[in-house]
Symmetry: C2
Subunit: 278 residues, 2 copies
């Protein structure tokens, strides 16, 4: 297949992530692969492709696009062999993400693969409740909520307002079932000596977030432009103070400025030696 | 490698998901592969393996485990070729998840892979803000918040209390940057004629959740045992009423009882023709 160039001289690719389930595995893996390439991607997820008819319809669509020069890659994870066979009829580069590894893993494990066992993102009794429970915990133990239940926490995130505590606690709950409470440190805490009283019994669970003052200023300005709260001076002051507390109290901390919520969460879990609740 | 059997006669496997990044891709993909097998897994993520020293330490640990009969599989995604080479020295089944596909994709795209471009879960300017913005939107437009901003919503989730609206709206925000508001339907709405007034201008954005009354009873009992709210009778009544509203008003809806939050979210996105905000 030869690809047309777009006006900028970059390659423009139509890419499909296809699955008989959510297509999340195909999307995560395919996106990671494509991130190695400096190409302009138009990606589309095609989840729940679960019948032969749907598969035929998809193949026809792709083949029509290929014919008019719209290049395409197809990444797929399909557990039903008949549907998988139909998808292979796409007249373009079509990667069966599970295909190549199944047989080596069968040999390594010494047991046969069972296509019907495949239900990566399906509802597993128990697992669901753990995550929903952790999300509810994060929401109930977020900034500004008066009654704190820190006994149950796996980790308590500290930081000034808008340093990333809430998204991080929700991500840890959603992905890993981790109960992450969070506690906003503010001027009252800066004027006091030592850690806020409510945190002292839980010192081993504390983890601090910090952020570049300039970035904090931008984020806060998006919410309350031209306020004292968002001013560069105030942001600098709060970050200096909060980092001083972390150092004095020997609380591990992380600068979130250049990190995604996934990176922040996995770094905290590694440092605090937390693992997924299953 | 031969594997020892555990008492139940199942295989017990130690599995590592290794990366110089978050290891999320290795974990998602490796877990999906392993879900084909009826084996008892002890999985461990090893993120941020970013130096030769760390890689050597990891290899030594794995090789010691292999020597004492603790079987291991290693799934890895590492962009640095030198670190990748070290990890390959694990004396067990060691799968380079990116390795096999990079070269075919290079040929398909006609451009060379650039290892340093690989930053699948890293902070991309703009993308981060979209997701955080969507999370803040979901939190501000969740059950019980008085001022609703439905104009901005990509989708508005309807459902009775505890039918899964909040986790779904947060997942859609976190993973896809979708702004999902949610609106709890209650007895006042059941007694009224038609949809609540506040929803009427946004009919095309509405999506309903429903759930088996028995499951709803269990979930509510976990929060308020022996209450009217959690009673089987009340749960049956609310579900009958809410489904009647969906049917009368022709609002698409989904039964969430057996679905994970990933499945609920991807099904809604497919039906409402929503795509990831990039």
């Amino acid at each position: 297949m030869s690809l047309h160039n777009n006006k900028k001289g970059n390659k423009r690719m139509k890419v499909y992530f296809v699955s008989d389930g959510t297509a999340i595995t195909a999307e995560v893996f395919g996106s990671a692969m494509l991130s190695f390439f400096d190409v302009d991607i138009e990606a589309e997820s095609v989840p729940f492709l679960a019948t032969i008819d749907q598969a035929n319809g998809f193949v026809q669509q792709v083949n029509e696009e290929v014919e008019v020069g719209k290049a395409a890659l197809v990444f797929y994870t399909i557990s039903d062999p008949e549907i998988s066979e139909v998808v292979q009829r796409c007249e373009t580069h079509c990667y069966n993400l599970f295909g190549d590894l199944l047989s080596p893993i069968e040999k390594a494990l010494g047991v046969p693969a069972q296509p019907n066992a495949q239900k990566a993102h399906g509802m597993k009794a128990g697992v669901y409740d753990i995550r929903i429970d952790a999300i509810n915990y994060a929401l109930a133990n977020d900034d500004g909520v008066s009654i704190k239940n820190f006994e149950e926490a796996d980790v308590i995130l500290l930081g000034v307002s808008r340093s990333g505590k809430t998204p991080t606690s929700l991500y840890m709950a959603m992905q890993y079932g981790i109960k992450a409470a969070n506690y906003p440190l503010n001027e009252d805490d800066f004027r006091a000596v030592g850690l806020p009283r409510i945190l002292r019994p839980h010192k081993s669970k504390l983890y601090g977030l910090t952020i570049d003052p300039q970035r904090l200023h931008e984020i806060r300005s998006g919410r309350m432009a031209a306020s004292k709260y968002a001013s560069q001076r105030q942001c600098r002051y709060e970050i200096e103070e909060v980092e001083a507390i972390y150092r004095q109290e020997r609380v591990s901390f992380l600068n979130t400025t250049l990190l995604s919520v996934e990176e922040i969460s996995t770094k905290i879990m590694a440092e605090m030696q937390l693992s997924r609740h299953r």
